[in-house]
Amino acid sequence: MNATSSPRIVVVGAGPAGLRAVATLAEAGLKPTLIDEARRPGGQIYRQPPAGADRPAEALYGFEAGKARALHGLLDRLGAAVDHRPETLVWNLFDASLDLLGPNGFETVGFDRLVLATGAMDRILPFPGWTLPGVYTLGAAQIALKAQGVAIGRRVALVGAGPLLPLVVHQYLKAGAEVVAALDVTPLGPKIRNIFGLLAEPATVAKGVWYTLRNLLAGRPIRSSVRAIRVEGDGRVEALAWTDAAGREHRIACDAVGASFGLRSEAQLADLAGCRFGFDAVTRQWIPVHSAAGRSSRADVYLAGDGAGIGGADAAELQGERAALALVEDLGRPVDGGRVADLERALARQRRFRAALEAAYPFPTHIAAAIGDDEIVCRCEGITAGTLRRTAIDRDVAEMNRLKALTRCGMGRCQGRVCGQAAAEVLAAARGVEVEAVGRLRGNPPIKPIAVKEALR
């Protein structure tokens, strides 16, 4: 690499982290390439509707409309300073090159420096009925509303284990959708106990309190400490049943359920890059390790946003900028030390807030522990928890990739995005070991499906 000419810099992901990263790089006089699967920038949290389904930013993003507008306008403002490659999947990373599938077919792009801002998706744990038509992730319920102006059903039940739950409940109610139940599988106590930590970000807490109060006034308070959720229905969702904190059974008719249990990082590219991963005991997931500045274990790869551990949209913007400044600095170019210090202070505050938030919404071990033998864990391949447990014991499997090899769990179209964490919980419990000890599914290219016909173009 030649640091003085024009290094090839690629940013993957056009969410808040990736967008802030390219803006910072462009301001430093570099010309980054920004690659993103979506047609329009924004990522998932600031996702823009497809053409023809536009609505005002206030309607789509509420309190965050200003941030969304600013991010959406970034690429227009930067113009030719950024080589934006929308509708392009990065399906492999090998050595210092990326394999792309975009509107013009396959292409390989080399990089001297890479920023991975690959985001997150919902963390999923199976429960009875979770593969029925009409059951979606909470994130999906939100996207249906945001990107399409539809609710996932006429009578919707929402279930969660994180701050996304009160937000989606609020958004659904505000949009005129019928929310028949709002259930939090984590207890209320930790939220109160961690209020001081949460106040590291008072504005964010205020919004959370606002959503909670609005939901309360709308007659849809979120019930905490909910257990044993179960979706019933013949061919589609007909009802949701659960057990409350006092052990009472409840059942309510509905035709759709949005349910997930926090978020998990999309880290397949960091994995293929050979970045070192570490186990985060709080969120019980493996994440690519990085410094506060976003430097990974690999000198030419930087990590930012939820793809490098869940931090939320505000933290993602800060991390995107901080990682870009680290990159600029590593190229031997000047950076504004004052700005770096401001970012690091803000990021430290975000970390305190995030730690309190994770403590307020602890991992719902009771859901993971209750996964029945008949329950499908891998929805791509249809592999049940019973199969995983039998394989763990009868065939003496103690590690996730071996479990995948022998059962096909995590071997389907989604490459274990959906089932990986749940399968690890099931395997660890069956073996009587900590979840950390069973490892994690390794990534394989393509990280998302690619059509054979593309090879002919």
């Binding site: 699967e37 979606y136 249906a144």
Partner: protein, 105 residues
């Protein structure tokens, strides 16, 4: 004589909240005419007409997508022209012929 109730899949799943408007777009599902709205992704187009998208390969069940953000790969659908598309990231097009349960004459 009492007619059989329509199958549960024939009732829509997604519910339009009247938040936006758009020109109607005509397409078909298993040969039957269906209507979507400009700006619809294919998943919205299909699920405002019925409750599922495809057959699950390894059991009797049907599937209707799951994550809506291109991660879970649950919403790949077949089109009569041979294409296979991910319904949560593909805009509906006029005349699209979606196959869910099978081809119809």
């Amino acid at each position: 004589m009492i007619e059989d109730a329509p199958p549960p899949s024939s009732r829509p799943l997604f519910h339009r909240l009247g938040l936006r408007d758009g020109a109607p777009i005509d397409f078909t599902i298993d040969g039957r005419p269906a209507r979507a709205m400009a700006g619809d992704l294919l998943i919205t187009a299909i699920l405002t007409n019925r409750s599922d998208l495809r057959r699950f390969e390894f059991g009797e069940a049907m599937r209707a997508g799951f994550c809506l953000m291109g991660g879970c790969q649950d919403c790949w659908v077949d089109l009569a022209d041979g294409r296979r598309v991910r319904a949560c990231s593909t805009p509906v097009e006029a005349g699209m012929a979606v196959i869910v349960e099978g081809r119809r004459a």
